[in-house]
Symmetry: none
Subunit: 439 residues, 2 copies
């Protein structure tokens, strides 16, 4: 039998959340071992004098958190401890949304195409010509197809920002960017500091990773003006802009630029299938030619089958249809994460409120340390990346990235609830009595 | 006049692709004979009520397919069937042998697999786990999947032979190897010279590119002994060994080694489909872990769909069946190239006689200069790579690589005959009378 927790009707924490926490702790401490059958909702509601829907809500949250497994007609059982953690650690799309039938139809069409033998043969460093045309390669602008955005950054480092040069970046920034430039022996300068002699400025104007920040029109124009004045090439990472869930789109740096000083990085990975590594760089022909040469000695060219498949997926209209579904879900994810953070985080927590993308930035109140608390979060089955992976110059011990793109709204709520519990336990604002009452 | 194809605006196939297919079929069926002038894009766009860019895109594709020749200001003409140049310049398989039906069946099976959603999601830097297991990842040895052999070399340079180090290589060597190490600031030392302090020795024991040379057992053992004594890591490029057309296989360096000092590079590209960029490095776990870390900041991971497809192609037995057909054809290619060279090259020419692979090395007698003669060879429709692309320390002006893997025996004979004619014309040993008689 389940040990009956003392629930507090006066608490600001809803009863179902209190019940969820109590059962979660009982599972964590082994009081309820794996395989243990929980009492039916009706029975537990009766013995605790609760509404049955309260118990159902708690069970549902436990199920979403992977702590129990519910089977219709058989009941709910404590899950094996290792059962799927809730990971806020990776900026990725929700695979439950993958349109598998549309993908299969796309592949069938590519397979039926007469050009399949050419696709399977060695290709050109620049990429598959029909895909490059689709992406806007023209007389004035060229396109290099890369293995996702990451390789575009790697090639840009190797060609445009060699050992010993300086590059301006946002702070905090995407770890894959930080890593590739630091390993290439490049000095990173945190924007908005502007250093004369720096080779490049690399920014993500829409839904930046990790903060979710979107640059205003004035900020964009300022950046372009500064770059023009100082002869700095701008790298615009544009991989999230198609995932706007609310608000109006702003013109991209490329659209605002009239000097050819912007290289834009795009990718199909965030909007469709990250397992297919297809990204690109678009810009001035001479710069793209230098990047394509590096591409050739790096790995000859990007996988052609996947290039042909994403092209077909896009040309057939399936990509746009899928994007609309992703946006509808993104709106729900965004609402779920904001609601849960507002409710669950300790007093004094702040967080960014993006209009799209997959990431936001949470700052816990001092003295909470997101890196130090991570092992405890992982122990309760939740994962995230603390600020140190993203920091260029400013350590923010209380901060972490919360990537919500890969989780359903329900899993987001459950995960943030678990995190909130870990953080509140360490938070000086919580009364010890209250803490005891909850356990 | 061109027969007007019925294009379907409702079709999911883009209009330019439909137009391309219609014209392609008309050329194939002789409706549009060689030399026929296609209508100007504007005119055809008018009569078909199409956008002119649609017609231009179709013509561009036809041009790339070698089906038409476009000349600025003169128009586009149906190409001679045989007028596509005979290229001995690329080490690639014969695409006429691509088993398209087997490939399509493989893709259908992968698409029907329940793991497809996981394949389309972000993967692990090391590669797709089932493929790594297939390639022999174990407790003692690990496997990193790369974008073909080229990326394996790039990662090895970046991790194991950084700027300022020295690496021993065969001379002549593969241009992709030379390039990537020289650009990485590595000093190349031509084997058999052995330099104390060099980090790596990189060799292709079977059917080396460009010479086709196979190391004897004694040479292999000597190399392993030297490497062991000097603490040098050996990189064994093993991408051609599955393509032995005659003679008995010798044990690989990995098989002869008992000290864990060999990293072996493999690839599916030479034996199956180079457009799918799947290669790997196999060896000691600590070395593979360092390479995998570099792989992650380079491009996260290799395309997962293609990894799943080549795995299925291999596991189903189709790869081995295909390999047997490639070997049977390779035997014919090898016989054709040797016979043609014996017959057609100027007196004093020597060439290597490989037992497999795709390449051999031709040395023309002095004062013939293979680089200087290349434009003339290209004018008669034949292409090859002169020695300077491969040279590490010894210039060999008379030498060039002849890559025969991508051509049918008939095209090989025709191409070598054309080359022989160009070279003999420049050769002092040929009597003017004989020359006249031949021309």
């Amino acid at each position: 039998m389940i040990p009956l927790p003392a629930l507090d009707e006066q608490s600001e924490t809803p009863l179902y959340r209190q019940l969820f926490d109590a059962i979660r702790v009982a599972i964590r401490d082994g009081v309820l071992p794996p395989g243990h059958r929980l009492p039916p909702t009706r029975e537990l509601a009766g013995s605790l004098s609760l509404n049955r829907t309260t118990v159902s809500a708690a069970y549902e949250l436990l199920d979403q958190a992977g702590l129990i497994r519910s089977h219709v007609g058989r009941g709910s059982f404590v899950a094996e401890p290792s059962s799927s953690p809730i990971s806020f650690a990776t900026s990725r799309p929700l695979d439950e949304l993958f349109p598998l039938d549309e993908f299969r139809a796309t592949v069938r069409e590519v397979m039926a195409d007469s050009s399949i033998a050419a696709i399977l043969q060695l290709g050109a460093p620049h990429g598959y010509a029909p895909l490059r045309r689709y992406l806007g390669a023209s007389e004035t602008e060229d396109v290099l197809v890369t293995n996702g955005c990451q390789q575009a950054l790697d090639l840009i480092q190797r060609v445009l920002a060699p050992l010993g040069t300086a590059v301006m970046v946002e702070d905090p920034t995407y770890p894959g960017l930080k890593n590739v430039f630091e390993r290439g022996g490049v000095r990173l300068i945190p924007l908005p500091r502007w250093e004369a002699g720096a080779r490049l400025a690399i920014v993500t104007p829409n839904f930046q990773n990790p903060t979710g920040h979107t640059m205003s029109l004035a900020e964009r124009q300022q950046l372009l003006g500064d770059a023009r004045e100082q002869g700095v090439t701008l790298i615009e990472i544009d991989i999230y802009s198609a995932l706007r869930y609310q608000g109006d789109a702003l013109p991209s740096l490329v659209e605002l630029d009239d000097t050819g000083s912007v290289l834009q990085i795009g990718s199909f990975s965030k909007v469709s299938f990250p397992g297919l590594r297809i990204g690109w760089v678009k810009g001035r022909r001479d710069l793209i030619a230098r990047l394509a040469e590096a591409k050739q000695w790096t790995d000859l060219h990007t996988d052609q089958l996947s290039q042909a498949i994403v092209l077909r997926f896009a040309e057939s209209g399936r990509l746009e249809a899928h994007r609309q579904r992703v946006i509808a879900t993104g709106r729900e994810q965004l609402a779920a994460v904001a609601t849960a953070l507002d409710r669950e985080m300790p007093y004094g927590t702040t967080f960014t409120r993006p209009d799209g993308g997959m990431n936001l930035w949470v700052r816990l109140p001092a003295p909470l340390d997101a890196a130090a608390l991570l092992p405890e979060a992982q122990r309760v089955g939740v994962n995230y990346l603390p600020a140190r992976y993203f920091a260029v110059s400013r350590p923010e011990p209380g901060a972490f990235r919360l990537s919500f793109g890969g989780l359903t709204p329900e899993r987001i709520s459950a995960g943030v609830a678990l995190l909130g519990e870990v953080f509140r336990r360490e938070s000086p604002d919580v009364h010890p009595e209250l803490l005891t009452a909850m356990v």
